[in-house]
Amino acid sequence: MAFIECETLTHIYLKGTPMETVAVRDVTLRIDQGEFVAIIGPTGSGKSTLVQHFNALLRPTSGTVRVGGVDLSDPKADRKAVRRQVGLLFQYPEHQLFGETVFEDVSFGPRNLGLPPDEVKTRVEEALRSVGLDPAEFGPRSPFSLSGGEMRRVAAAGVLAMSPTVLVLDEPAAGLDPRGKTEMLGHFRALHAQRGITVVLITHSMDEAAALAKRVVVLDRGRVVMDGPAREVFTRADELTAIGLGVPAVTDLVRRLRARGLPVRENVLTVDEAREAIREALGWS
């Protein structure tokens, strides 16, 4: 059974006022345990609104959302239990750090769960390690003395310390430098591969979506307009460009090579695949 299940989900902000805006319209979507899904769409297409239903921050205007079998449109639903299972990392989460030390900041969630101190400590250390920060070195430091990339990772550790089974990431690499980006995304890839954590990744980068996710969901003006394996979605270059998106840079390059009459195979998503495809086309194997 699907872990996250949206049925004809609609979300309207400021309903009944002149400012009424339909952010999400009639979305039906199922995400299974263990998937790595990218959600892409132009600015204002409803990505952030949609995922805030996944951990009960927003309630549907109409339609239903079920997470782990709990119907979140029911006002009596146990929303806290859902928030423990679904961790949401907001955009620019480093703006939300508040602890005097990294340890204190990351331990805030598990302490609120009422866990015993040694369990809290274990969780904080494990969470910091899984984003590449040494607990002994970073734990006692002030989060505000860290670099932007390190602060972002501390914020991610705060979510991971709740031991979620689903991670929802809203543009987790935006604004990081190339090394910070690679590291940050590498940690999420590892959490997915090694611990089977379900990952829902919102991104503006087609390259990131192609490199990480097996499945890509495309939103446009609040609706799901495409949903399928990354390899299939990114063959629809013209439609994606028309809604303000695009295809991964390598996919575009291969299209150009083919347009020149070179027999390069289609459906290339990564640099390694492009390298193979070009060698193959030139008979250089």
Binding site: G41, P42, T43, G44, S147, G148, G149, A174, G175, L176, D177, P178, R179, G180, K181, T182, H204, M206, D207, G244, L245, G246, A249, V250, D252, L253, R256, L257, R260, G261, L262, V271, A274, R275, I278, R279, A281, L282, G283, W284
Partner: protein, 290 residues
């Protein structure tokens, strides 16, 4: 005429003289010529944004000096002349627009300069046309897309008739279309004579510049035209940076033994080079390729 921007031995220390002192810029000398398109790259914390804020006197040197069109940024009397010459666009499109209607937002700058009303109208028209946003002149800025907001922010600067546009990670928060819109606008303005300084983490944008400087720990680590800078993959990597996709792929294939020429930066060049190779029967027969 003096160069548009001349920086000599600039140092910037935040909280100077306290235990929390941080050296953000540590001895940069740089000349930016009129009409140039310069990209500034570097990891988080390398000093890019601090350097940018010196270009229109938002920050003043701890040591060294910055001259804009011959004006010294330390001279208080020149501040407004300097800011009229160098305009900045920042990362977050939502923090830069002040008015409730697009054309009023554009008029804000020239109004503050005391430009006569008739000319303001002409300037607003011209600035919106330059960023291709004329049809949105009566729209509310908060209802625009990210790319449109950044173009309005650029138009607001253009209405001041600046000589130089500084983009401080101005494309970071935009979706693919927004990026394309802003980059096309900037390239068009540069072709029309506006000097552009583009600060970015995205190497695929830096490759569009005439010249790149890469900062590391507040100093210039690498400098040169894109073809030259992206020929130094090892040095870039050591600085936490990467090659743009096309040069990276060309480099990998060269390492595999394919005789692709050096200095390939763009997709069109890459396609030309691979097509030429495919047509080169001599190379094929020599290498036993069928």
């Amino acid at each position: 005429m003096p160069p548009l921007i001349e920086i000599r031995n600039l140092r910037h220390v935040y909280n100077a003289g306290t235990p929390a002192a941080v050296v953000a810029v540590d001895g940069i000398s740089l000349t930016v010529e009129r009409g140039e398109f310069l990209a500034v790259v570097g990891g988080n914390g390398s000093g890019k944004s601090t350097l940018a804020k010196h270009l229109n006197a938002l920050l003043l040197p701890t040591e060294g000096e910055v001259h804009v069109d011959g004006l010294d940024t330390r001279d208080r009397a020149s501040v407004w002349d300097i800011r009229q010459r160098v305009g900045m666009v920042f990362q977050n499109p939502d923090n830069q627009l002040v008015a409730t209607v697009v054309e009023e937002d554009i008029a804000f700058g020239p109004e503050n300069l005391g430009v006569p009303r008739g000319e303001i109208v002409a300037r607003v028209q011209e600035a919106l046309a330059a960023v291709d946003m004329l049809e949105y002149r009566r729209h509310a800025p908060h209802l625009l897309s990210g790319g449109q907001k950044q173009r309005v922010a650029i138009a607001g600067i253009l209405a001041m008739r600046p000589q130089c546009l500084v983009l401080d990670e101005a494309t970071t928060m935009l979706d693919p279309l927004g990026r394309r819109e802003v980059l096309e606008t900037v390239r068009r303005l540069n072709a029309g004579g506006v000097t552009v300084i583009h600060i970015t983490h995205t190497m695929d944008e830096a490759v569009l510049a005439h010249r790149i400087i890469a900062l590391q720990a507040g100093r210039i680590g690498l400098e040169g035209p894109p073809a030259q800078v992206f020929d130094r993959a090892g040095d870039l990597e050591a600085m936490g940076l990467t090659l743009p996709l096309i040069p990276a792929l060309a480099r990998t294939l060269r390492a595999d033994g394919l005789p692709l020429r050096e200095g390939i930066l763009f997709a069109e060049q890459f396609v030309d080079a691979v097509a030429a190779l495919a047509a080169d029967t001599a190379w094929k027969s020599r290498n036993g390729v069928h």
